[in-house]
Symmetry: C2
Subunit: 277 residues, 2 copies
């Protein structure tokens, strides 16, 4: 018998991986959380039937959501991560030696526990600079009274279910309030191939709040959409103005990301150039 | 009832599209050729169970296999296409006004007929500059006595089945014999994600024949591998030395490709940089 786990997009595209065995499955207060081992990508996390991350290709996603923002903010000290329960985004942020404090606001303790138990190599959970808050990021962003952040990373799941409130004007305004002048906000912004309307809406909405919002692109096999996008938003920072010292600390340790990938990722295809102006 | 067409890679990854109906299905002398309509990508060609091209995303593939070579050879007049039976590669080549002659050597008349009948917008079949030879490219490349070509494009299917002989030293030597000094050879070189050993072998083998062989990358949803690759091979031409006049003729008419995409596509991820040196 051969076991397959399929993610289906709108009953029109399906991406499947052959599964060796299940390691974890639990309904949390928010969602159905599963970890299983796939032949192609090793241990893999899925939430509510949607692939989230895997040992085999997590570095494409986590390096790309973190480093373009981090290398354009010289000496970034304080970082806020919204979501990111598997730990991979915090791990990449913490590789930057300038970082003194990472606050991570993740809604679901079950996701964190599952990843700590079954995919521990994704996280840097014991780093004393990391403060994990299990709670609602929407409330945090609205109400927190803290020193502003140099970089804010929104590592949320798709804009349905518990993550829905993370993709709208009110939430982005809250993010803007917590970001210092000269800071950068980066987020995953779906697949420009198979979720183009959502992708365009994210970028266009960000442009009503921030002076710059530029999407960038890379491959994430697990997401089945040929190309994934993230978006770099800021009031003052040019996404191509790489700080050499900031880059030098992390570039060699990356599996995917480097200076050329950074520049290349911001190249906008002709069709998107026409749609985004 | 919902119909799906699946391509499965080595019993570990599966990519499926929902099918509305079948338009064509025939066993040729070489392979099983199908055209069907999918919800996501419109009319779609598959050969021996492997997705080949679709109305919805063919421009990603065809622009990327053609233009990086064509814009680095000023005034390219003569172009050889090996394979390319759907017509899309020839169409993109023929958009360059400097082109006087395109020779296309495709082994399977059934593929050409199916695409002319069911996906005619892919081709520029009536262009008088196009000479279609139904025949074996391996023999052609070995034996043809013709004026050398400025650009040669290998648009073959995967290196199994009839296309197997198109991916080895002897074939590349034949290509090299037909390429003029200052010419460029470009080819599809599989997915660096899910077919990495084959991808590396193609690039490394090309480097034993040509002074330069540089892979470049882009998204092709239909191929299910998150990222596709092509390789640019030449003895004299720098892939980043774009000729402005050559680019100007085609850039505006492209859906995906442009100058920034060209440069960005050649960015080599850290892991591949280590593997390819």
């Amino acid at each position: 018998m051969s076991l397959w786990y399929y993610e289906t997009f709108d009953d029109r595209i399906r991406f499947g991986l052959r599964v060796e065995h299940t390691l974890f499955a639990k309904q949390s207060d928010y969602q159905y959380v599963e970890v299983f081992k796939t032949v192609e990508l090793g241990k893999t996390l899925a939430i509510d039937g949607i692939y989230m991350t895997s040992e085999g290709d997590e570095h494409y996603y986590h390096e790309m959501i973190v480093h373009p923002a981090m290398v354009t903010v010289p000496g970034a000290r304080r970082v806020l991560i919204i979501g990111g329960g598997d730990g991979g985004t915090a791990r990449e942020v913490l590789r930057h030696p300038s970082v003194e404090k990472v606050v991570m606001v993740e809604i679901d303790q079950v996701v964190v526990d599952a990843c700590k138990a079954h995919m521990p190599e994704l996280g840097s959970w014991d780093d004393p600079r990391l403060e994990l808050i299990i709670g609602d990021a929407i409330e945090y962003v609205k109400q927190a009274h803290v020193e502003p952040f140099d970089v804010i990373v929104l590592d949320g799941s798709d804009p349905v279910g518990p993550a829905e409130g993370l993709f709208n004007v009110d939430f982005y305004k809250g993010v803007s309030r917590l970001l210092r002048d000269g800071g950068v906000f980066s987020l995953q912004s779906e697949s420009p191939m198979i979720q183009r309307p959502v992708f365009l809406e994210v970028v266009q909405t960000l442009r009503t709040i921030f002076k710059t919002a530029q999407p960038y692109f890379g491959p994430v096999l697990l997401y089945g959409g040929a190309q994934w996008s993230w978006t770099f938003a800021s009031n003052t920072v040019d996404p191509l103005a790489i700080d050499e010292a900031q880059l030098a600390h992390v570039e060699d340790g990356c599996k995917y990301y480097n200076r050329d990938i950074h520049r290349g990722a911001f190249a906008l295809p002709n069709d998107l150039r026409r749609q985004l102006g």
